[in-house]
Symmetry: C2
């Protein structure tokens, strides 16, 4: 049976986890299934995450720049470290390269280097190999988090407020503009949304500030889109969620880009993907303190809904209409 | 300038290391350039290594089996941990997959799982993604080594004996048979050499036993071939080497396979690649103790030459003829 008939990527990952993955036992405080693995090395916990990007599947060189490709490849991993409440430390960079211009390779590495430097990490090793299959980038990012600060997906409780940082949907709008108008055209249509897609900012100081309050129940970063990622958080925590559509933080740029794309800005925000913002749940009485901590780190945050009993995530309008959260885009 | 005109993979890696790599400072005891990075986490040192394999460039599905591909992908990383004298602990497995049969994916993971289990490691995380560019596998392997036992490439001293474990060249002969005769034909011609190529055994217990003697000056694993890897060890240590061609350990199977291939068995052993045996240097008075320790771990080892002043590695015949070590096969 082919992967596509088997239930796609998600079903395959479940199979792999159950059959071949380590359980969270011994030194392995947390195995496959969260944003990253947590390993007990005595003092702080070691965080490890890894991300594979394949040309044509995950990126296209005609709608990005080599430097931005490098930056984003590093940033998505750094975001996974932030999702655990951690500080990024070391990146290990594997790159498969066709026989392309050396300056392209240099720009990719410069982007990886700069994203690491911006968040306190360095390139500590890797593998550089030939590839007949286009550019392939795998980065494994290490980080550290204080034992008591480690944030996981499985701590959400009914009654929790659901917070997100900054705005959602910009990145997906940027992607749609890039696909429709190309790199130059997308930048003319919305420099902001295009930048949000091509050069995401991992929320490391925001995440560190949030966990330092000691009041975060669960946290993850939004990579696949609010709808898909919230479903994972709910499944891990054994809860449901209600998201208030009017509360979703939408940028002015998203409204303009959505009009240009003839798309619904709320749908882009609810299921767009690649936001790399933080999704946090906490006791509603602690929301203000966490929002204030995040503000001190330079970002806004707001409550967009609540954790409830059950197992489904609903999008609720001001009028009280309830819909299932829109489905996110799937590979395979 | 294209990579191929720039000096290929080696020149590119040097550029990347110098410009973007972290220096071995602070917690990073050893950065880019050895088999793996060493990170100071307080007690033991953390070892991190990563390896990227791209279909058609590094493997072909018509001359291997999915299980063996998985085994080898894990084994080459475990071998890098062994090269540092370490114990493998956790593997992080990124796989890019076309829409292939799920049973193929299961077999790949089973091989990765079994190689880890055989050497005391587990799969602790990873990334599973779609790929339009064939199968791509990146494994990042973690390990631990006692601070005083960590083996590096840069410790060889003039006068050192050079040891290798088991036999060399079998894997390259196996590869040549596979390319010439296909999987079934290669197995008929030499089951041993074919297995040595498709299912390498990382020398973890051997490496642990060797470093436990406290007498290893430098160590690495033979992945690119004796000639190429010895040149790296010499460059890192600032020394030269003399290898006695008659002392190279050749299996009976290699002699038979080489005759079948009309190839020189010494050349296959000296520059073949993918042996995944250990290359060790030590005071010649300690060679017997190290060979005995390796024997207790189940492998043979023998002296094949000596470290000398200078910067070149020579292959010396019984008659005293001296030649530069034959060049290894290069990507790009």
């Amino acid at each position: 049976m082919r992967i596509s008939d088997f239930g796609g990527e998600a079903a395959l990952i479940n199979l792999i986890r159950e059959r071949y993955g380590a359980t969270g036992a011994g030194e392995l405080a947390l195995g496959i299934g969260d944003d990253a693995a947590l390993i007990d090395i005595g003092g702080d916990l070691l965080i490890v995450t890894t991300d594979l990007l394949v040309e044509e599947t995950h990126f296209r060189m005609d709608i990005t720049e080599p430097y931005l490709l490098g930056w984003k490849s590093a940033a998505v991993n750094i975001s996974d470290i932030a999702a655990m409440g951690g500080q990024p430390t070391y990146a290990f960079v594997s790159i498969g390269l066709p026989d392309i211009d050396v300056s392209v390779v240099e720009s990719i590495y410069q982007g990886i280097h700069d994203a690491n430097a911006a968040f306190g990490s360095v390139i500590a090793g890797g593998d550089t190999v030939a590839s007949s299959a286009g550019i392939v980038i795998n980065i494994t990012q290490l980080g550290l988090v204080e034992r008591e600060a480690a944030a996981r997906r499985d701590g959400a409780k009914p009654g929790d407020a659901i917070l997100v940082t900054n705005t959602l949907g910009d990145s997906r709008a940027g992607l749609e503009l890039l696909l429709k108008l190309g790199l130059a055209g997308a930048r003319r249509a919305s420099a902001f949304c295009t930048e949000r897609h091509l050069k995401p900012e991992p929320r490391v100081p925001e995440a560190r500030a949030a966990v330092a309050t000691g009041r975060v129940h669960s946290m993850m970063d939004l990579s696949d889109g609010l709808s898909s990622d919230l479903a994972k958080l709910c499944a891990a925590s054994g809860v449901g969620a209600r998201i208030y559509s009017e509360a979703l933080p939408l940028s002015q740029d998203l409204h303009i880009a959505a009009a240009r794309l003839d798309a619904d800005p709320v749908a882009l925000a609810a299921s767009g993907g690649e936001d790399y913002e933080l999704l946090i749940t906490c006791d509603p009485r602690d929301a203000a303190a966490i929002i204030e901590a995040i503000a001190s780190a330079g970002s806004t945050a707001r409550a967009i809904g609540e954790i409830v009993d059950g197992d489904s995530a609903l999008l609720v309008s001001l009028e009280g209409e309830e819909h299932p959260m829109p489905e996110s885009w799937q590979h395979f």
